[in-house]
């Protein structure tokens, strides 16, 4: 039965001038769902900065795409698969990967990288360990099978994610501009060609499922979770690459959320045409799938395309070579309607403007708040050796190689920097050109002060790419929030997106694609709001990539502060369970802009450089020393110097001989000579720390949860 809200049904029937039949009601229920229509978030998203001279297509298509020169474009996007993953973690995560990859290759771009930002409850909980293990396996099995390297991600933990874990998936593709395929149907009489898996009942109501809270009822919705078939996807990738390269398609779109309905309707609407389909021709997995289920099914690995009849033979030859099933199920019509038939029997006839335009906005109320409290009073206690071990072994900090070693990160022979720390680097089709790719979400900051949190996310990600020697060229976002009918959550959403937008504008990095996931809550409340961004940077010569690992013995270690910093929230305050106040560090906008200019000119004065990671400056220095097994000494450092966190704290290695020039070039900033690079020994304020103990705390603790 359709779950079209009565209020919407009344509006639609009035506009249509007749009652809806069951199939039509189903179609409206998905197209008017939050998941497909963005009726709550649209007013906010419409204001996003998206200007770029590189931009070929922005929001509204399957993914945003940017021109990267030499005839290539890149397409990238991020999506959530939270609800399915909370109910059925393996399939939920696997189909999440599959879905986002299709968004990329449907445009004629070969998917060459994926990344997975994840959020779970604490690893002390059995359920959270189970969810993580299954989600990682789902990503691993799917991504590895289709031969797309998983090269980045981030995993964080908080009690608010125990029931409703967050699984975001990012994918990036590279294509030749001449092979670009758009989801724009054109040409009356052109054929509507279905190919890929047969349609089953899986995922019926997936889009409306994603637009509701998780509760006991949700478990009964297991049939709303789709089943993954990476082998079919791999065949589709190869076939679509060949179809795109040979220019044999008028249009193509994958059947994602709301499957056959959204793919047909959206392609027709973009082209200003209509579509007529004969549902008796849709390939079915079982005979008794109803028309209603056919239109709403979210069976995976299915594509819908528009083909000129004169190319049909060539297209189907390529599909058949790849052993992919196909069926011509309809044609493009002039009248701007979705016309469904079964043989000669009419099934549905809906004018597209009624389906897609003037959807009553949700008009969600918004109520301002800030959870910032107290003064950032100096902390006087001193760190003992145990403190350092506790920070490095925290799941918020420790190495996640247990996760990313389950992902093939090198297939494709273009991965120049593997997952582990900082943005990954992928060269473009074996040339000197390369892309840097990272994912970042700062849920703590967004919850406490949404605008500052959104701003900090973009600015910190920007710095990561800049310091690596890359020019950020675009952002994709995945916005994971609670129930937007709660005015505080609506405020959280609006203000954090405003913050993200403000930073994107200031730094001139367009937001080219994105996804909103509301209703991430359950009986125990909403999740910490995750404004996750994927950022992509470009370099014309990857051999100029700047290292983040220490290079020279006796190098000087400096910090440069472009933002304020705080001990609460921080990994320190969480692990030591001290949270006397909450304060979100802020960037000094002018300083940030000046730093970018100065770094481009004088960055060579730093031998290695990075943004302070989670866990504070001590953790950053430890990570920089790790790769070449250097030691270091830190002198006269307070607890705040060591563990306070800020999104704009830069840690740099400077050679003694260059110190004077460095101090001169960066004189406009707050600089602090915090330590020196040593041969092996690690010491802080004269106290020697056991290198082996620290290294084991960092490397081995995460995997121990699963032994």
């Amino acid at each position: 039965m359709s779950d079209l809200k009565q209020k919407d049904r009344t509006v639609i029937e009035e506009r249509l001038g007749r009652p809806l039949n069951e199939v039509e009601a189903g179609i409206f229920s998905v197209m008017w769902s939050e998941h497909c229509s963005y009726r709550t978030s649209k007013p906010t998203l419409r204001r996003l900065f998206s200007t770029s001279k590189r931009k070929l297509i922005g929001e509204g298509e399957n993914a945003g795409i940017l021109d990267i020169g030499n005839g290539y474009f890149t397409a990238f996007k991020m999506e959530s698969h939270n609800h399915p993953s909370a109910i059925e973690p393996y399939q939920g995560a696997a189909t999440g990967v599959g879905g986002i990859l299709r968004d990329i290759f449907t445009m004629g771009a070969r998917p060459v990288a994926s990344a997975d930002p994840l959020r779970f409850g604490p690893m002390s909980e059995q359920r959270s360990r189970h969810l993580l293990e299954e989600v990682v396996k789902g990503i691993s099995d799917y991504g590895n099978s289709v031969g797309v390297p998983t090269i980045s991600g981030e995993t964080q933990f908080d009690r608010s994610y125990s029931v409703n874990c967050l699984v975001n998936v990012f994918a990036l593709g590279i294509g030749k501009k001449s092979s670009l395929v758009r989801g724009v149907a054109r040409g009356e009489g052109n054929l509507v060609l279905y190919f890929g898996s047969r349609t089953g009942r899986d995922g019926v109501h997936g889009a409306t499922f994603a637009s509701d809270e998780l509760n006991e009822e949700s478990k009964k919705q297991r049939p709303s979770v789709q089943i993954a078939n990476p082998f079919e996807e791999k065949k589709l990738i190869e076939a679509c690459m060949e179809l795109a390269e040979k220019g044999l398609l008028v249009a193509m779109q994958d059947m994602g959320a709301a499957g056959l309905t959204s793919s047909s309707v959206e392609m027709a609407a973009r082209g200003g045409v209509g579509m007529e389909m004969d549902l008796s021709l849709v390939p079915l997995r079982q005979d008794d799938v109803t028309f209603y289920e056919m239109m709403l099914s979210e069976t995976q690995e299915r594509m819908l395309s528009v083909v000129n009849p004169k190319n049909l033979g060539k297209v189907t030859a390529i599909l058949e070579k790849n052993e992919i099933e196909w069926a011509v199920i309809g044609k493009v019509i002039k009248e701007r309607s979705l016309v469904l038939k079964s043989g000669s029997e009419p099934v549905a006839d809906i004018p597209l403007y009624i389906l897609l335009e003037n959807i009553p906005p949700a008009n969600a109320a918004s109520e301002e708040y800030s959870k910032e409290s107290g003064e950032a009073a100096p902390v006087r206690s001193n760190a003992v050796p145990d403190t350092f071990v506790k920070i490095l072994s925290s799941d918020l900090v420790n190495s996640k190689h247990w996760i990313y070693e389950q992902y093939d990160s090198r297939v494709g022979c273009d991965t120049l920097k593997c997952p582990g720390d900082g943005p990954a680097v992928l060269r473009v089709e074996k040339t000197r050109k390369a892309l840097s790719i990272s994912c970042l979400g700062l849920e703590e900051y967004v919850e406490i002060s949404p605008f500052k949190g959104g701003y900090a996310t973009v600015a910190r990600a920007f710095l990561e790419h800049l310091l690596l020697g890359f020019e950020p060229i675009g952002i994709t976002d995945c916005l994971n929030f609670g129930n937007p009918e709660d005015p505080k959550i609506m405020f959280q959403f609006n203000a954090s997106v405003e913050g993200m937008n403000e930073a994107a504008k200031t730094l001139n990095v367009p937001v080219i694609s994105g996804n909103v996931s509301f209703y991430n809550e359950n009986e125990t409340g909403a999740v910490k709001p995750l404004l996750e961004i994927g950022m992509v940077g470009l370099s014309e010569n990857h051999s100029k990539k700047r290292p983040a690992a220490f290079r020279n013995l006796n190098g000087l270690i400096y910090t440069i502060e472009l933002s304020s910093k705080t001990l609460s929230p921080s990994v320190y305050s969480k692990e030591m369970e001290t949270a006397p106040y909450a304060f979100v560090p802020e960037f000094d906008k002018n300083k940030l802009e000046l730093f970018i200019r100065t770094f481009k000119k004088h960055g060579h004065l730093m031998d290695s450089v990075r943004v302070q990671p989670r866990g504070g400056t001590f953790t950053g220095i430890f990570k920089m020393a790790l790769q070449r097994e250097f030691g270091f000494e830190i002198m006269d450092a307070s607890l705040e110097d060591l563990f306070a966190e800020g999104p704009g704290i830069v840690i740099a290695e400077v050679e003694k001989a260059c110190e004077k020039a460095f101090l001169h070039a960066f004189s406009a900033f707050t600089l602090c000579h915090i330590g020196n690079i040593k041969e092996k020994e690690i010491s802080v304020n004269g106290m020697t720390l056991d290198r082996r103990v620290l290294t084991e705390a960092y490397f081995n603790t995460f995997g121990e949860h699963f032994q």
Partner: protein, 224 residues
Amino acid sequence: MKVRIAVFPGTNCDRDALYALKHNGIKNTDYIWYRKSDLTGVRLLILPGGFSFGDYLRTGAIAIHSELFRAIPAFIRNGGYVVGICNGFQMLTEAKLLPGFLLKNTSKKFISRMVTLRVENNETPFTSCFRKGDLVEMPIAHTTGNYTPLGETVGNNVVFRYCDKNGEVTVKSNPNGSFQNIAGIIDDTGHIMGLMPHFERVSDEFLGTGGIKVIRSIIKNILK
């Protein structure tokens, strides 16, 4: 002197192999679709990594019944050479063209990371550019790489073993539980080699160079 890289539905390292060979100077190299079986003029057939036929049933189990794979015995009799990487190695053991079995890793998980290998045998056409005992770094990426001979003697057939940075063959340096740390073996004729590590992924100055000597050996001994 042609080289052909087999492509099955689900193969995903075919492009990597083509890049590695061409980048290192092997010009006459191309793909061959699994439904073709004409290997006239071909000297080397590469069975690349991936998930042929989705690895359904068992790794490599469906691929070995293809027209192309069934042409391998005659191809070898006529002097051809075959190298199977990862999924290709799994096909070769599945078809009994190489001794032993590949079982799931002891961790039961996919393992993707760099490993150190010790060259055990440099008197093969695939490894003659190495010295015996050389240490090389290559990546592995598999779930089913636990090599198990089950009673067959393979001592003389071992080409590569997993070892630590100092060249010691230890339990800790064995990523998947394979018998005596075996990473790659060759058949008695010296014409068929199978290995789990991806030498094709470390074949240029930016990705790593551990695999280049395998390609140089192929050029010297097989394509001369």
